[in-house]
């Protein structure tokens, strides 16, 4: 058990990413404020990045595809946030509220 504590393995990184992912997910679902939801959405992406890099490092450190891929996801994350804020801005001009529960029109 001792070597497990001091000897950082891929397992630890995966657990870390898992916890970060769950916190991000909780933030998205439970937050009242749209911006807070979007921020916690960013956590999801960063958790995934940790996974990418961890696997790339531990498993196939030769081909480095993991690393390259995480770079791309970081870029996409940024773009996605930009889009989100543009849409949020337009919605905000309509309703003037940040509270996520007011935006209920998209209904079956």
């Amino acid at each position: 058990m001792a070597n497990l504590v001091f000897n950082i393995t891929l397992f630890h990184y995966l657990i870390l990413a898992l916890i970060l992912f769950t916190i991000g997910l909780l933030g998205v679902i439970l937050s009242k404020n749209i911006i807070k939801a979007l921020i916690s959405a960013e956590f999801l992406i960063s958790a995934v990045n940790i996974n990418f890099v961890a696997f790339a490092f531990f498993v196939d450190s030769a081909k480095l595809t993991g690393f390259i891929f995480s770079i791309f996801t970081i870029a996409i994350g940024a773009v996605e946030l930009a889009i989100a804020f543009a849409i949020f801005y337009l919605l905000f001009k309509e309703k003037k509220t940040v509270n996520i529960n007011d935006y209920k029109e998209l209904k079956g």
């Binding site: 393995t9 891929l10 911006i35 916690s40 940790i50 890099v53 490092f57 480095l64």
Partner: protein, 181 residues
């Protein structure tokens, strides 16, 4: 357990503690500005994790993009909104709260279990980090050539995509809504 192992493990545990703590604080804090600050802390800590995994290139990009660009963007958004103090998550819909908490716990337990199960299948899950030190220079040059040669096409596509979206959506915001309210 030589000193390098202990050092990396200490850094690792430190960084992960910081990540988890500030992530929790971002979703629990009442004021939106506090949650923004804690988010920045989380992004930087993740950057350190990349450093730990010898992915300096990624760490730099992480620091540059998440550390700086996105918080500025969010700050702008906060400027436009009158960021009244809003209530924290405790006022969320109570039934949904219970439901998500239960499912979150279930989710974590099961994935943890899966990882344990998969450990019996896969051998590389518990090889220690210290035994895999890569040569730093080779790492940096191989990432750059990988980026610009092997996946050059993907890079161009992503760049073009980013350009189009940023220009499109920023022009979208200038668009005066036909009907207001």
């Amino acid at each position: 357990m030589n000193s390098a192992e202990i050092l990396t493990s200490v850094i690792f545990y430190l960084c992960s503690a910081v990540i988890i703590l500030s992530a929790l604080l971002t979703i629990l804090s009442k004021r939106i500005m506090y949650s923004l600050i804690f988010a920045i802390i989380v992004f930087f800590a993740v950057g350190f994790i990349f450093m730990l995994l010898n992915a300096e290139y990624n760490a730099i990009i992480q620091f540059a993009v998440y550390g700086v660009a996105i918080p500025i963007l969010i700050a702008f958004a906060l400027m436009f909104t009158s960021y009244k103090t809003d209530k924290s998550i405790y006022l969320a819909f109570s039934a949904r709260l219970i439901l998500t908490l239960i499912s979150a716990i279930l989710f974590v337990l099961t994935l943890f279990n899966i990882l344990l199960i998969s450990s019996s299948v896969v051998d590389w899950l518990f090889t220690s980090q210290s035994s895999l030190i890569l040569n730093k220079y080779e790492m940096f040059n191989s990432i750059s050539n990988g980026l610009y040669i092997k996946s050059f096409f993907a890079l161009e596509l992503i760049a073009f995509l980013v350009f189009v979206i940023i220009v499109g959506f920023s022009s979208l915001t200038l668009f005066k809504g036909k009907r207001n309210g």
